[in-house]
C-alpha cells in the first residue's frame, strides 16, 4: 500500500504536459522502480503522480533523418539490450543497462527514469556521457535538446523545467560512427546491486589501428553526478595505441575524478579501482575496435 495522493494517467505527451501544468507539485512516474521505492521510504509520500507509462510513442529505438540514434525515454532496459540498432552501433549501452538490478527491474525500468533520477550510480548514465548523448525535453514551450552533461545539475537534480518531461535520448551519428566501447560495473555483487564505481570507455582508432583518433571515458560514482575525465582523454587522443599510453591515460583519471569517502567505500579505494577500470575498459575497447597493444 503506497501513500499516493492522486494518480493522473497521461495519454500522450501534450496531455502529460497539461497534467503537469494542472498539478505543479506532481511527480512524474514511469516504471516506478525508483519513485515507488522513495514513496515507501517516506521521501515522496503523499505526493500526486503523473504517470507517463502508457505513452507508447516514447518507446523504442529508431534512426533520425541525420542518422542519429533516438531512444525513446520510456524504452525499458531489457528492450534496449535486445534492440538491433543498439546492438549494431552502441552495444556497450545495451550491456551497461543489462547490469541494472535484476530481470524484473530491467523489464519495468526505463532509460528516461534512470537519467531523470539524477543519481551518479545509474548504469546508463556513464555510457551516455561517454557517447556524447543529447537529452530531448518536451514542455509547454516546445522541444529543447541539451547535452547530457548539462542535464545533470547536481546529485538528484536534473534540468527539468516546470511541466517538462524527457522524451528521448539521442546519440548523434558523429558520436557513434567508428567507435567501440566497453563498460565495467564495479559492484559488490554480480546482480541486484548499484555500482561502487562504473566506468565506460570508447575509442575510435585510425584505419591502421595504430593511433587513438579519439578516446572518451566517463564514470559513475566518481563524483556527485556522472562525469567525463577530460585530462585522461587528452593523454590518449592522437597517441599511439600502446600499453604506455593506456597506463598514462588510466593514471590521469585521478586528475579529473573526485570520489568521496563514505561508509559504502573509502576514497582511496574508489580512486584505485577507477584507475584499474580505466585501464581495463580501454584495453577491451581497443580489442573490440580491432586494435592490439604491446604487452
Amino acid at each position: 500500500m503506497y501513500d499516493i495522493k492522486a494518480l493522473y494517467e497521461a495519454e500522450n505527451v501534450p496531455h502529460a504536459i497539461q497534467l503537469l501544468q494542472e498539478h505543479p507539485e506532481a511527480q512524474i512516474i514511469a516504471g516506478g522502480s525508483d519513485v515507488l521505492v522513495q514513496m515507501r521510504e517516506g521521501k515522496r509520500a503523499g505526493k500526486e503522480l503523473v504517470s507517463i507509462y502508457m505513452i507508447d510513442d516514447l518507446r523504442g529505438v529508431s534512426y533520425e533523418e541525420d542518422g542519429a540514434i533516438r531512444i525513446g525515454s520510456l524504452t525499458s532496459f531489457s528492450h534496449i539490450t535486445r534492440d538491433p540498432i543498439i546492438q549494431k552501433h552502441i552495444n556497450v549501452l545495451g550491456e551497461a543497462v543489462d547490469m541494472v538490478g535484476g530481470p524484473q527491474i530491467r523489464n519495468i525500468g526505463t532509460i528516461g527514469g534512470n537519467t531523470c533520477n539524477g543519481v551518479t550510480s545509474a548504469d546508463s548514465a556513464s555510457t551516455l556521457h561517454a557517447w556524447d548523448a543529447i537529452v530531448e525535453l518536451t514542455g509547454p514551450n516546445g522541444i529543447r535538446r541539451i547535452p547530457i552533461k548539462d542535464f545533470y545539475i547536481k546529485a538528484g537534480k536534473v534540468d527539468l523545467q516546470p511541466a517538462e518531461l524527457q522524451t528521448a535520448i539521442i546519440i548523434p551519428k558523429a558520436a557513434y560512427e567508428g567507435y567501440q566501447g566497453h563498460y565495467i560495473k564495479y559492484a559488490m555483487r554480480n546482480a541486484m546491486d548499484i555500482a561502487t564505481t562504473g566506468c565506460s570507455v570508447n575509442v575510435k582508432l585510425s584505419a591502421d589501428k595504430k593511433i587513438f583518433e579519439d578516446v572518451r571515458i566517463a564514470y559513475g560514482v566518481a563524483g556527485p553526478v556522472p562525469m567525463r575525465a577530460p585530462s585522461a582523454e587528452a593523454k590518449a587522443k592522437g597517441k599511439a595505441v600502446s600499453s604506455a599510453t593506456v597506463k598514462e591515460f588510466a593514471q590521469a583519471v585521478l586528475d579529473d575524478i573526485h570520489p568521496r569517502d563514505s561508509w559504502r567505500a573509502a576514497k582511496d579505494f574508489r580512486q584505485h579501482i577507477a584507475v584499474v577500470l580505466a585501464e581495463r575498459a580501454l584495453k577491451e575497447s581497443i580489442r573490440l575496435a580491432g586494435g592490439e597493444i604491446d604487452g
Partner: protein
C-alpha cells in the same frame, strides 16, 4: 522403506502453486495495522513523546507509548526451554515498550491504525524527546572501567564470563623448542534475511488471546506472552502456520507480546504487526559478532603443546540467547583439536547495538572462522601441508566428551576430507596454485567444522507426538517440532510410514502447530527436529501399532505377535497372508456396535543423548589482485549427518547453508555509524547478501555413518552447512594471494587494505 528415499516434499505442490497459507494470508482484512516507533538514539531515556499531531491523522486508531506500559513485566525472549530452576532461567530484561533506550532501533512506541498508510504517516508525525547517555559500540571498549553501562546488574557490561581449564597452560608453554602462533579473528554482525519478515496477528476469543505468528517456537511463544502480559499461560493460544524461513531469528520471541498487548488494550480487536525489512535487520535479532584471540604453542613435529582462546561476543543491547552462543563456540575449541593444556575464556558483552540472538550455527560459524583461520596459519608457519596438519590433530576416533558424552564413533573427518578432496580435485590444484605471480591468481582451501545435535545435557530435550487413525487407515501425525522450510514434515511422514507399515500417502502430518491442540514441544532449533522427533515418532508409532494389532486380534482371532502391518495391510506373519486392510480395520473399530474404539496414540520421549555432526568445506577461488576481488569458482561441502532420511532434502538443506556461508565469508556485514549507532545498510540493497549470480554450482556430499544413539541413525544437518564455508574461502584466498584476512568478510574493501599493506598493490 521410505527412510533414505528422495520422496517429494509433502508440502511441495501447495507451495509451488501458491496455495500454502502463511500468517498474512490467514489474517482477516478487518485487522488493525500496528507499526513500531523505534528510538533514534543509541542510549538514553525517553523524556517525552508527542503524539497529538499523529493522532489527528485519519485512520489512526490509537498510539501507545512506553509511558502506557504501566505493569512492568520484564520478560526473557530466548527460544530456550523454560527452566524451573531460577538460576538457569533466561535473563528477563525486555519490556513491551521501553523508556530506557539501549540501542538505535529500540522499541519506544506503537501506532495502531486502520491501514498501512495511516500507520506510516503517524510514525512520521510523532515527536520524541530524549535525555541522551554516552554509548559504546565495541566489546573491548564496553569492558573498560569508564564505559557506559547498559544494565546496572552487569558491571563492565559483562553478561557472563565462563572458563575452560585443562592441564597447565603456563607450565606447558615452558617446553623448549615450541613455536608460538598468535592471531586475532573477527566476525561481522550479520542478519538472517529470511524471505518472510517477522509477522504476527492477535485477537481475543472470550478472555483468551489468540496469536498467529511466523515463529519457530510456538509453545515457547505462548509462555513468554503469558510472562510479558502477566497472564495465565493457558489463556494464550499460539498458532504457527507455514513460515517463510527463520534461521534462528524466529527462535526468539520477537513482537508477539507487543501485538498481544495492543490487541488486549484495544478490547480484543484483531491487530496485525508486519515488520518491514529495514526494521527486521535492526530490531529483531542478529548474529553475534565475535572477536577471538588464539595462541597456539606447537612443536616442530606439528603437535600441540598448549593452546589459549579468548572470545568476546557482542551481545548488543539485551540478553536474548546471551552467553549460550559464545559458550557453544568456545566449548568446541578444546574438542575439535584436542590438546592437553588448554585455557579458554568466553565473554558475552553488552553494547549499544542490535540484539544478538540465535542464528544458524549458534556460535559455531564464528568459532570455526577463528579456529580454522588460525589452523591454516599454523600449517603455513610450520610449512606443513594443511590437510596433513589437520588430520594429525583433529578429534580422534573413540574420543568421548566428558560433559555431553558425545562420542566420535567413526573416522568421520578423514572420510569427509577424502571425499571433498576427490570431488574438487584438491591435490592437483593445490600443487598447481603454489607460488603464482601476475594479476589473476587461483587458490584452493578448506576448513572443517565441529557441531553437535540438540541441546542435551544443557537443557530439556523432549518430544511429544500424537497419531490418530482415520476410517480409511490413514492417520494424522502431530508434533511440537515445527516445519520451518527445512522439510521436517516430509521426514516425519517418511519415518512414521516406515515404523507403522503404511504407505507415505496414508500419513498426514499436521503442519500447523496450535498450542491448544498440538502436543508440547519446544520447536525448531539446534538442528534437532529430525533427531528429537524421531524418538517420539518411533515410540508413538509402535504404541499405535500395538493398539491396532490388539484390535486386529478381536477381528481376526489371531495372536498379535503373529500379526504385522505391511503397506497398510494387516498380515499374518506366519504365512504372510493379508487378512484385511488397515482401512477395513479402522472402520470396523470406529463403527463397531460391540466395541467401538478410536485408535490413537500419544507419547512423550525424553531424549538424554546428543550426537556430534561433523564435516568440511573445500573452496576454490580466483583472486583478481588489482580489482581486489574474489571469485568463487567451486565449492564442496561434505557432511556426516548419519543416515539421511531424505537425501534430496538433505542436499537442499546443505545448499542453503552454503549460500549463507558464502555471504558470511565474502560480502555480508551490518555496518553502524560510529557517531550515532544507527545501522547504515539495513536493507537488501546495501546489505550484500550473495545472490544466485555470485554462486558457483553448490556441491553437497555425504558420508552416511549411522548415528548409534539416534532413533533413525540420523543427526544434525540444519545448521552445520554454514559452519565451515567462510574460513574455507578465506584459506583459498590465502593460497592465491599469500595474504591472511582475519576479519570476515573478505570484501574488496578489506582485501584492498590488506593487499596494500602487503605491497601487492
Amino acid at each position: 522403506m521410505l527412510v533414505g528415499k528422495k520422496v517429494p516434499r509433502v508440502d511441495a505442490y501447495d507451495k509451488v502453486i501458491g496455495r500454502t497459507k502463511y500468517t498474512d494470508d490467514l489474517c482477516d482484512k478487518s485487522a488493525y495495522i500496528a507499526r513500531i516507533l523505534h528510538a533514534e538514539i543509541a542510549h538514553g531515556k525517553v523524556t517525552a513523546i508527542h503524539t497529538a499531531e499523529a493522532e489527528k491523522i485519519p485512520g489512526v486508531v490509537k498510539i501507545f507509548t512506553c509511558f502506557d506500559v504501566e505493569e512492568k513485566h520484564y520478560f526473557p525472549t530466548a527460544g530456550h526451554p523454560w527452566s524451573l530452576d531460577p538460576s538457569h532461567q533466561d535473563v528477563a530484561d525486555r519490556l513491551i515498550l521501553t523508556e530506557h533506550v539501549r540501542f538505535y532501533g529500540d522499541d519506544i512506541a506503537a501506532v495502531v491504525a486502520e491501514n498501512e498508510v495511516a500507520a506510516a504517516q503517524a510514525l512520521r508525525a510523532i515527536q520524541v524527546e530524549y535525555e541522551e547517555y554516552p554509548f559504546v559500540m565495541d566489546v573491548q571498549e564496553a569492558m573498560k572501567d569508564d564505559a557506559p553501562q547498559l544494565h546496572e546488574e552487569y558491571p563492565h557490561n559483562i553478561l557472563k564470563h565462563t572458563t575452560i581449564r585443562k592441564g597447565n597452560y603456563e607450565e606447558a608453554i615452558q617446553e623448549p623448542g615450541l613455536i608460538k602462533v598468535e592471531g586475532w579473528y573477527d566476525t561481522p554482525t550479520v542478519q538472517h534475511c529470511h524471505i518472510e519478515n517477522f509477522i504476527c496477528t492477535a485477537e481475543m476469543e472470550g478472555d483468551r488471546i489468540k496469536v498467529v505468528s511466523s515463529t519457530q517456537i510456538p509453545h515457547i511463544v505462548r509462555r513468554v506472552i503469558g510472562q510479558a502480559l502477566g497472564m495465565d499461560w493457558g489463556k494464550i493460544r499460539v498458532i504457527k502456520p507455514y513460515i517463510g524461513g527463520g534461521f534462528g531469528n524466529k527462535q526468539d520471541v520477537l513482537y508477539e507480546p507487543l501485538c498481544a498487548w495492543l490487541c488486549w488494550k484495544l478490547g480484543g480487536h484483531l491487530v496485525k504487526l508486519d515488520v518491514p525489512r529495514e526494521e527486521t535487520f535492526v530490531s529483531n535479532r542478529v548474529r553475534h559478532a565475535i572477536r577471538s584471540h588464539i595462541i597456539s604453542w606447537v612443536r616442530p613435529d606439528g603437535t600441540f603443546a598448549a593452546r589459549k582462546l579468548e572470545a568476546f561476543s557482542d551481545q548488543g543491547a539485551y540478553a536474548s540467547h546471551g552467553h549460550s552462543i559464545c559458550a557453544k563456540g568456545v566449548g568446541a575449541f578444546p574438542q575439535l583439536y584436542p590438546c592437553d593444556n588448554v585455557e579458554a575464556d568466553a565473554y558475552t558483552i553488552f553494547t549499544n547495538k542490535p540484539v544478538g540472538g540465535a542464528m544458524r550455527g549458534y556460535g559455531i560459524p564464528q568459532a570455526m572462522w577463528a579456529v580454522e583461520c588460525h589452523t591454516e596459519e599454523i600449517a603455513a608457519k610450520l610449512k606443513m601441508d594443511p590437510i596433513q596438519f589437520r588430520l594429525k590433530n583433529l578429534m580422534p576416533v573413540g574420543y568421548v566428551d566428558p560433559f555431553s558424552k558425545n562420542e566420535m564413533y567413526y573416522d568421520t573427518f578423514r572420510q569427509c576430507m577424502e571425499k571433498g578432496m576427490a570431488a574438487i580435485d584438491y591435490e592437483r590444484k593445490y600443487k598447481e596454485y603454489q607460488n603464482q605471480t601476475g594479476d589473476i591468481r587461483r587458490g584452493i582451501g578448506m576448513a572443517v567444522f565441529w557441531y553437535n545435535t540438540a541441546v542435551w545435557p544443557i537443557s530439556l530435550e523432549s518430544s511429544s507426538c500424537r497419531m490418530v487413525l482415520n476410517q480409511d487407515g490413514s492417520l494424522q501425525v502431530q508434533l511440537g517440532e515445527t516445519e520451518i522450510g527445512q522439510g521436517a514434515d516430509t521426514a516425519y511422514a517418511q519415518m512414521t510410514a516406515d515404523v507403522l507399515g503404511v504407505p507415505l500417502e496414508a500419513v498426514h502430518v499436521v503442519s500447523c502447530q496450535d498450542t491448544d491442540v498440538t502436543p508440547f514441544g519446544t520447536g525448531a532449533y539446534a538442528s534437532r527436529q529430525t533427531y528429537t522427533a524421531g524418538f517420539s515418532i518411533r515410540q508413538t508409532a509402535l504404541l499405535l501399532k500395538e493398539r491396532i494389532l490388539k484390535y486386529a486380534q478381536e477381528l481376526t482371532r489371531m495372536a498379535p505377535y503373529n500379526l504385522d502391518i505391511v503397506d497398510g495391510k494387516i498380515i499374518r506373519k506366519t504365512d504372510n497372508r493379508e487378512l484385511m486392510t488397515l482401512g477395513e480395520l479402522s472402520a470396523a473399530a470406529l463403527y463397531s456396535l460391540e466395541h467401538s474404539q478410536h485408535l490413537s496414540a500419544e507419547s512423550t520421549y525424553q531424549i538424554k543423548s546428543n550426537a556430534y555432526s561433523f564435516g568440511c568445506t573445500f573452496a576454490e577461488v580466483e583472486v583478481d589482485i588489482p580489482m581486489c576481488k574474489v571469485k568463487l569458482l567451486d565449492i564442496v561441502n561434505v557432511h556426516d549427518a548419519g543416515t539421511l532420511i531424505n537425501p534430496a532434502l538433505a542436499e537442499a538443506q546443505v545448499h542453503g547453508g552454503m549460500s549463507m556461508g558464502i555471504g558470511y565469508g565474502l560480502s555480508e556485514r551490518l555496518l553502524f555509524d560510529p557517531k550515532t549507532g544507527r545501522a547504515f545498510n539495513n536493507n537488501l540493497l546495501d546489505y550484500k547478501i550473495s545472490t544466485f549470480m555470485d554462486h558457483p554450482r553448490l556441491k553437497a556430499l555425504f558420508v552416511e555413518n549411522p548415528e548409534p544413539t539416534s532413533a533413525f541413525g540420523t543427526k544434525a544437518l540444519g545448521e552445520p552447512p554454514t559452519c565451515s564455508v567462510a574460513p574455507a574461502i578465506r584459506n583459498a584466498v590465502y593460497q592465491a594471494s599469500g595474504v591472511f584476512i582475519n576479519d570476515a568478510p573478505v570484501t574488496p574493501h578489506n582485501l584492498f587494505r590488506k593487499l596494500k599493506e602487503e605491497g601487492l598493490l
